[in-house]
């Protein structure tokens, strides 16, 4: 029924000679929301950066299904596509990094246009931005301001809006709520879920708010020291005692056990 969209098989990747990811398998289906959780430094950011070619891949491969062209090898040890190549190839990916996710010295309009960089942005910008402003009205009001003048929450909105400009099929988000107050974080997560539900976008989410994001997701992965320690439907992960204790901040139980 649902079709796979992205597959990453036996990924080994890292920086320089350092292996950070040691043989991870993940996949994302169409219209699916998948969350990756795991302790700090376990390699979550590295894993998703590997998918888009920001990190060197030592072994394994990443493939993405294209409507017309079928399965495309995006990352293999032999040929690694750089992020700009992937975008120029017309592979409908959107990525919002954990840090530095807007262009601070560009105006909001220019930031949004950068989302359309590989297209003829003059002809698409108007139509796409009107659609984006429906979800992010605040961006329209401040369209000619520099992004550096935005608050943390507004920046996160802009980062997401920029990634949505080219109408991607898969959105990869690295801790989009990290810098947000709890109420804003919940708003952001709801917005992300609505993207999946209304626009049919697949979501790959890395989150510190592990419990809440699993509750909203279809499936989840637990990444520990560069390996997938657990995976499955989000509901199952949420109900597993060990995972709740170790990764979901179920403090009451943890303390009981220690005490």
């Amino acid at each position: 029924m649902t079709k796979a969209f992205l597959r990453a098989e036996n990924i080994v990747s890292g920086y320089g000679k350092l292996h950070v990811i040691n043989g991870a398998n993940i996949h994302i289906d169409e219209r699916e929301m998948v969350t990756v959780i795991g302790p700090n430094g376990s390699g979550k950011s590295t894993l998703i950066k590997t998918l888009i070619g920001l990190v060197k891949i030592f072994d394994g491969r990443v493939t993405i299904r294209d409507e017309e062209r079928g399965w495309l090898d995006v990352q293999t040890r032999k040929r690694q596509m750089k992020p700009d190549e992937i975008i120029r190839e017309g592979i409908p990916l959107g990525y919002v990094p954990q840090l530095n996710n807007v262009f601070p010295s560009l105006t909001i309009e220019e930031n949004l246009k950068m989302g359309l960089f590989v297209k003829k942005w003059d002809s698409y910008y108007h139509e796409r931005s009107e659609q984006i402003f429906e979800s992010f009205p605040i961006l329209r009001e401040r369209i000619n301001q520099r992004a550096s003048l935005l608050s943390g929450g507004e920046r996160q909105m802009l980062a997401l809006a920029r990634a949505l400009m080219p109408a991607p099929k898969l959105l990869i988000l690295d801790e989009p709520t990290a810098a947000l107050a709890p109420n804003l974080a919940e708003e952001m997560l709801q917005l992300i879920v609505s993207l999946k539900n209304t626009a049919g976008i697949s979501i790959l989410l890395v989150e510190q708010r592990a419990k809440r994001s699993l509750e909203l997701s279809d499936r989840g992965y637990v990444l520990v020291t560069g390996m997938i320690a657990a995976k499955g439907p989000a509901k199952e992960l949420l109900s597993e005692d060990k995972i709740r204790k170790l990764y979901l901040g179920d403090r009451a139980k943890k303390e009981k056990e220690v005490g």
């Binding site: 992020p83 601070p104 010295s105």
Partner: protein, 359 residues
């Protein structure tokens, strides 16, 4: 007492501001995209002078009939300066800076490398040209070191004087006195500023360049080929500097040599830092401030040297001689620089936001 010739000083300052603008745009551009201070910038200036000078000689040699300067004119020399220095800029990236980056060398290594490149080029030029370049009239009797402009501005040393008042008891003499070369510097610097501002703000290439300066990774995931942007940055930054140097050369009163650019490097850095490193508009404002502050100091110092001025007063009453030679005004840009940095640590255009973003 009568006023000094303020109008004339203001004109001189305007030309100096134009020179600073033309020759610092490239330094700023490289900093904003590549995040390091390129000390070889001094040699881009020197090379621009040598390249345009050489082209003048070559054109004089192969086009002896071109006495009307249809081809052998300053504009053509400036374009040549742009290309040669621009290519040199790309070469630095391909041969040195790109390799350093791939080896994960830090920005400090890039700075030291740029100092080394500058030193090599400077000494190479000295080896080839000696103290200063001179045309070889045995080979090329028509050669000259005077660059020329066609028809409408025939002689760059031709001085235009517009007198507003002369020997007025209060206003003294006020005139605007400028030669064709000075006018060309002002016009070129304004044209450069307008053109670059347009490119940065209204073209896809310019926006991509600013985006790359903000975040290489984010630009890449937006589909920007950042390596290409980096190459264009070097070409444009070096080229504009080479072109500016070619336009500036005829304004020099003495012959230039392999050290000419180096002597100007500190004022260049003063402009860039005062403006807020990497800020195009800040740099323009800083160039104007520095040029006018320097010239104002010249006026004040000369005034101190008048009969009955501060210099005499000090000597008579304290028996202590301080020479207020206008030449010492060269220190003023740095006095301003330090004062501004104490108030705004990131320069005129640098903001607290920018600091936050770099974390």
């Amino acid at each position: 007492m009568t006023l000094p010739n303020l109008l004339n000083h203001a004109t001189l300052a305007l030309v100096y501001a134009g020179v600073l603008i033309m020759l610092t745009i490239g330094l700023n551009m490289v900093y904003s995209v590549l995040k390091f201070s390129n000390f070889a910038h001094a040699e881009w200036v020197t090379m621009g002078m040598f390249a345009s000078w050489w082209f003048l000689q070559i054109l004089s040699y192969i086009l002896p009939w071109d006495t009307a300067h249809l081809l052998n004119n300053l504009f053509v020399h400036a374009v040549f300066g742009f290309l040669i220095v621009g290519i040199f800029g790309i070469l630095g990236e391909v041969l040195v800076f790109d390799r350093l980056r791939k080896l994960k060398a830090g920005l400090d290594s890039a700075i030291v490398a740029s100092i080394a490149i500058g030193l090599i080029v400077r000494n190479f030029l000295a080896m080839v040209f000696g103290a200063y370049p001179e045309p070889n009239r045995a080979i090329c009797p028509t050669c000259t070191s005077q660059p020329s402009l066609p028809g409408f501005l025939p002689d760059l040393n031709n001085i235009v004087t517009i007198k507003l008042v002369e020997n007025d008891p209060i206003f003294g003499t006020q005139w605007i006195r400028i030669n064709a070369s000075g006018i060309l510097i002002i016009v070129t610097s304004i044209a450069m500023v307008l053109a670059i501002d347009y490119v940065f703000r209204h073209t896809k290439f310019g926006i991509a360049m600013r985006a790359t300066a903000d975040s290489i990774e984010l630009a890449q995931v937006s589909g920007v080929d950042t390596r290409r942007i980096v190459h264009y940055t070097w070409f444009l930054a070096a080229g504009l500097t080479g072109m500016g140097a070619a336009i500036y050369r005829p304004y020099l009163t003495g012959p230039f040599n392999s050290l000419t650019g180096l002597y100007m490097l500190l004022p260049f850095f003063a402009v860039v830092i005062l403006g807020g490193v990497g800020s195009f508009r800040g740099g323009i404002i800083a160039a104007i401030i520095i040029a006018y502050a320097r010239q104002a100091t010249v006026v004040i110092f000369s005034w101190f040297q008048y009969p009955g001025g501060l210099e005499e007063i000090l000597e008579e009453h304290i028996g202590f001689t301080i020479t207020f030679s206008p030449g010492y005004a060269d220190a003023i840009p740095f006095v301003i620089l330090i004062i501004v940095l104490l108030i705004r640590p990131r320069g005129i255009a640098g903001s607290v936001e920018a600091t936050r973003e770099r974390v």
